[in-house]
């Protein structure tokens, strides 16, 4: 079995994996980083979004071996010293989550949206950018508000 080495949330990790192991399986099963979720098998729902070398990707669509040598950021790495990231805080303040299952993917996608579109986000931009993330609970209204507020807070 191949060995993969990557930097996950600032920690270097190394493990043997089957070559067919998906990055999301590696994160969840080998590293027990279960904050990244699996909601579908067709790269549609976005529950598994993480950042690889600073780029937002669906970790169900990438083999673990493809992330060899990469920097990977997951939802678990966002808060620092017990303080939530501004985007996480914005989701809490705006009731941007209900069951919480899609939430890690939403937050990781939100950060990518801010990175590419800046801190002043209009509703239409956020809605268009979120087309790769499905939520069944919130009706998106408060997720959109959360991302706009989080983007603004990150710029302040």
């Amino acid at each position: 079995m191949p060995t993969v080495t990557m930097n996950v949330n600032g920690n270097s990790v190394s493990a043997e994996v089957e070559s067919r192991t998906l990055l999301v399986q590696f994160l969840r099963e080998s590293l027990r980083l279960t904050g990244t979720h699996i909601g579908c098998d067709t790269s549609q729902c976005g529950a598994c979004v993480v950042h690889v070398d600073g780029k937002s990707i669906k970790s169900c669509t990438m083999l673990a071996v493809m992330a060899d040598g990469c920097d990977v950021a997951t939802i678990e790495g966002l808060a620092s010293e017990g303080k939530m990231h501004s985007m996480q805080q914005a989701f809490m303040d705006n009731h941007g989550l209900q069951c919480g299952f899609c939430t890690p993917g939403m937050v990781m996608s939100a950060l990518d949206i801010v990175k590419r579109n800046g801190h002043k986000l209009d509703e239409a931009t956020v809605r268009k950018e979120l087309e790769g993330n499905i939520c069944r609970c919130t009706g998106y209204h408060n997720i959109v508000k959360s991302i706009q507020a989080g983007a603004k807070a990150m710029g302040d």
């Binding site: 089957e18 067919r20 969840r28 027990r32 980083l33 279960t34 904050g35 990244t36 979720h37 699996i38 909601g39 579908c40 098998d41 067709t42 549609q44 729902c45 529950a47 997951t74 939802i75 678990e76 966002l78 808060a79 939530m84 996480q88 989701f91 809490m92 303040d93 009731h95 989550l97 209900q98 069951c99 919480g100 299952f101 899609c102 939430t103 890690p104 937050v107 509703e123 956020v126 809605r127 268009k128 979120l130 087309e131 993330n133 499905i134 939520c135 069944r136 609970c137 919130t138 009706g139 998106y140 209204h141 408060n142 997720i143 959109v144």
Partner: protein, 783 residues
């Protein structure tokens, strides 16, 4: 207002763990020595099983065991059951075919469970599952709801001739016919309520762990009702005695009904972990979820309204055919019957209603409750029919509703279809909704849109639903196998903090926050010192779980009653400590005080006294920990009016929802932020049904919408932001004055959306989902 008490939009207690990636969903749980299950599923909709050869699978790398229905039956496990009886028109109970957890000689839908492979890793289990060799004898399949009971169709179950589960008439047929004969006008509509796949974002999962020492099975499950699961798995499926079966429903990623039911995979995993003496985990992938989660809706119906010359409703007649799928899921029979026909009066004074529901079997996945369950089907039919009647009479849709509303002074109102509505002010809700939607300004907006080549339409939906499910005696009379009370335990610890144990289950609704608000309001304990615990049969007392928008209206009242008991006991303790008569003790803001004096003690001090009863009332039990059960006297009846405004592009058929306004009566709101979130989510579920979602089987029974590539879930760019307001009334039978809010949006939205599209296109009707193709065709036909 008490800080963080009733009426405050408190930030949610549960959010921190979800936001930092520390939620604890079933698939996140791992037990030492865990193995993995993969199910072998039927690729055919209807077939006999001639033989199953497991030799190659058993020899496959990492395989621990392969089981078929034979092993399950030999151990006396199963079959799966349906818990509600509906009496058919021949006086016999509904036809209930055998529902084995692993097939016995026959499969009846694509995805039906044939065998299970257990292996060291999931990949190995999946590899081996492909090596299970099943010899099928193909049979013709039937999938179409409307024609399943027709002569000459393939027969699925011997016990159900013509694929009929039941034919359930309700109401005075002759009186309705007489009213129709004398009517000024009869409005008529044929419509389909499209089949949905419920699709909580967390797929179902089960992890079974058998302890040989204690002979106890612990089953971690994606469940909305851990004790109901335990009861059914124990009493009816023979998995283990209740006291040797622990169900843990940890964080659950959405339910919407789909996680109420007892599924084959759950029973098989629970049984297999004892059989192989290893923990066994199964997690559904999304295609398995499409194939085997219980689906929702799937009706075809004809609805007729008899009207007088003033547009008053005289009588209604509804003929419905409902698809129950290949087998009866846990509560399936009650959805198109009691939860449907008993809501057909809606907000109106229609004095006579006759309904006939034919429920049929087809070679499709079982159909059961999906957010709203029966009530969306009733509301869609009624609110579409009302708009057709308005058009037939030349009346404004708002005006015909107003002429037929149950008036404010008529509550409590006995409808002709069993339900007695608690409270409502339908006209105020309509007025507020029309104002919120700027209904008066619509024609100007439509004219402006026309200038841009767009068709603008506006649609109303005035709904009522029955939730706060349910009075036990009433549901017992109807044939339910359970009572639908709820339980609570409120426990002070010696240091003064509080644990609230509820029999409900939160899977997104925010109970940990809302219920803590109830307790802080009532007992004056700081919000942060209250923890709400649910979802584990080893921790909480028996409870009925969460569905039917019942958690606050039933479970919340149980909590309030337990708090009342604590206050009553606390008065005795405080009276003793403060050397006063019990009758002189008053309680408020967390303090027991002697009336007219400054002598007082905090409830935390009282709790400490109860656990360290050195100086204590004679004969009083130590401890400060009370439980309560609440069986509601009636359902609760949330209601309101939603207004949807759309713009249709006649060139492409694309519908854009440009404005959506909701005015609801949920009674008193405990956490308005959470309630508004429930409205948003429910409305989008309804918009999904109206515009996007359609579960399709082909004529051979293959599911052709089995992934998110093929089944259109509503996404952020399909829906607008919402304008939400309230028109509350006070339900007299509910001690908290609350009604329930979780399903209202999914009930109200579909007719509001379709009424708007029909208005835009100037057509009589369009079936859901109103996809661009369907809308374009309708626009072309109308042009």
């Amino acid at each position: 207002m008490v800080e963080n008490g009733i009426g405050a939009s408190v930030r949610r207690k549960e959010d921190n763990r979800f936001l930092i990636g520390k939620g604890n969903y079933t698939d996140d749980i791992n037990v030492a020595g865990q193995s993995y299950a993969c199910f072998v599923r039927s690729p055919h909709a209807h077939a006999t099983i001639n033989s199953i050869d497991t030799t190659a699978a058993s020899a496959s790398l990492g395989v621990i065991a392969v089981f078929t229905g034979d092993e399950l039956a030999a151990d006396g496990i199963g079959p799966l059951i349906c818990g509600v009886t509906v009496t058919s028109d021949d006086g016999e109970p509904h036809r209930a075919p055998l529902h084995p957890a692993l097939a016995q000689g026959k499969v009846n839908y694509v995805g039906d469970h044939v065998a299970v492979v257990i292996a060291e890793t999931y990949a190995q289990a999946r590899d081996a599952a492909e090596k299970v060799d099943v010899d099928y004898g193909l049979l013709a399949a039937v999938t179409d709801t409307g024609s399943a009971a027709d002569e000459g169709q393939p027969q699925i179950h011997e016990v159900a001739p013509n694929n009929m589960c039941f034919n359930w008439p309700f109401g005075d047929k002759d009186a309705v016919e007489t009213a129709f004969a004398a009517a000024h006008k009869i409005s008529r509509l044929e419509l389909v309520n499209n089949r949905m796949v419920t699709n909580p974002m967390e797929p179902r999962a089960a992890l079974g762990d058998y302890n040989e020492g204690t002979e106890e099975i612990t089953l971690y499950l994606t469940t909305q009702n851990p004790h109901v699961h335990r009861l059914v798995l124990s009493a009816f499926n023979q998995l283990a005695p209740e006291h040797k079966l622990r169900i843990v429903g940890p964080d659950v990623g959405g339910g919407f009904g789909a996680k109420i039911f007892v599924y084959a995979e759950e029973l098989v995993v629970g049984w297999a972990c004892r059989k192989v003496k290893r923990p066994v985990k199964w997690t559904s992938d999304r295609t398995e979820a499409f194939l085997s989660d219980a689906h929702g809706r799937d009706h075809v119906a004809t609805a007729e309204m008899a009207l007088d010359e003033n547009g008053k409703f005289l009588a209604m007649r509804v003929m419905t055919q409902a698809n129950l799928g290949a087998y009866l899921s846990t509560f399936s029979t009650m959805v198109p019957s009691y939860l449907y026909a008993f809501l057909l009066a809606g907000q109106y004074t229609t004095p006579l209603i006759y309904s006939e529901v034919k429920a049929v079997f087809t070679n499709t996945a079982p159909v059961d409750a999906c957010r709203g369950a029966g009530r969306p089907e009733a509301t869609y039919l009624l609110e579409r029919l009302v708009d057709v009647a308005a058009a037939d009479m030349g009346l404004d849709p708002g005006e015909i509703r107003r002429r037929n509303f149950i008036p404010l002074d008529a509550f409590p109102y006995q409808t002709p279809v069993v339900q007695c509505y608690d409270s409502g002010d339908y006209e105020t809700a309509l007025d507020k909704a029309l104002l919120l939607a700027n209904y008066a300004g619509f024609s100007a907006r439509a004219a402006e849109a026309k200038g841009r080549g767009k068709l603008r339409g506006i649609g109303l939906s005035s709904y009522v639903e029955a939730c706060g499910i349910a009075p036990s005696a009433a549901v017992g009379q109807l044939g339910a196998g359970v009572g639908l009370w709820e339980s609570a335990q409120v426990r002070f610890n010696p240091t003064g903090n509080v644990q609230v144990f509820t029999g409900t289950h939160s899977h997104g609704q925010g109970h940990e926050t809302t219920f803590a608000q109830l307790v802080t309001e009532q007992l004056g304990v700081p919000f942060e010192n209250i923890e709400v615990i649910h979802g584990d049969t080893a921790k909480t007392q028996f409870g009925m779980g969460t569905y039917g928008s019942r958690s606050l209206a039933v479970g919340g009242v149980a909590i309030a009653k337990a708090c009342e008991k604590l206050i009553a006991k606390g008065k005795k303790i405080a009276a003793h400590a403060l050397e006063a008569a019990e009758g002189d003790i008053e309680f408020g803001n967390g303090n027991f005080s002697v009336a007219g004096t400054d002598k007082a003690m905090n409830i935390a001090e009282v709790a400490f006294n109860a656990y360290v009863p050195h100086s204590y009332p004679e004969g009083l039990e130590p401890g400060f920990d009370e439980n309560a059960f609440f069986d509601p006297l009636n359902f609760s009846f949330p209601a309101g009016t939603h207004v949807c405004e759309v713009e249709v592009d006649p060139e492409t058929g694309v519908v854009e929802i440009v404005k959506y306004s909701a005015v609801d009566d949920f009674g008193k709101l405990v956490n308005p932020m959470i309630v508004e979130g429930q409205v948003h989510g429910g409305v989008v579920h309804g918009i999904g049904q109206a515009l996007l979602e359609g579960c399709r089987y082909d004529s051979e029974g293959q599911l052709i919408t089995a992934s998110y590539m093929d089944y259109a879930m509503p996404r952020a760019d399909n829906v607008p932001s919402f304008d939400v307001d309230y028109a509350p009334t006070n339900p007299p039978h509910n001690p908290l004055g609350v009604k329930g809010c979780g399903e209202a949006g999914a009930i109200a939205a579909p007719p509001a959306v379709i009424n708007a599209i029909v208005n835009a296109l100037g057509v009589k009707h369009i079936d859901m989902p109103a996809t661009p193709e369907n809308v374009w065709r309708a626009a072309q036909a109308a042009a």
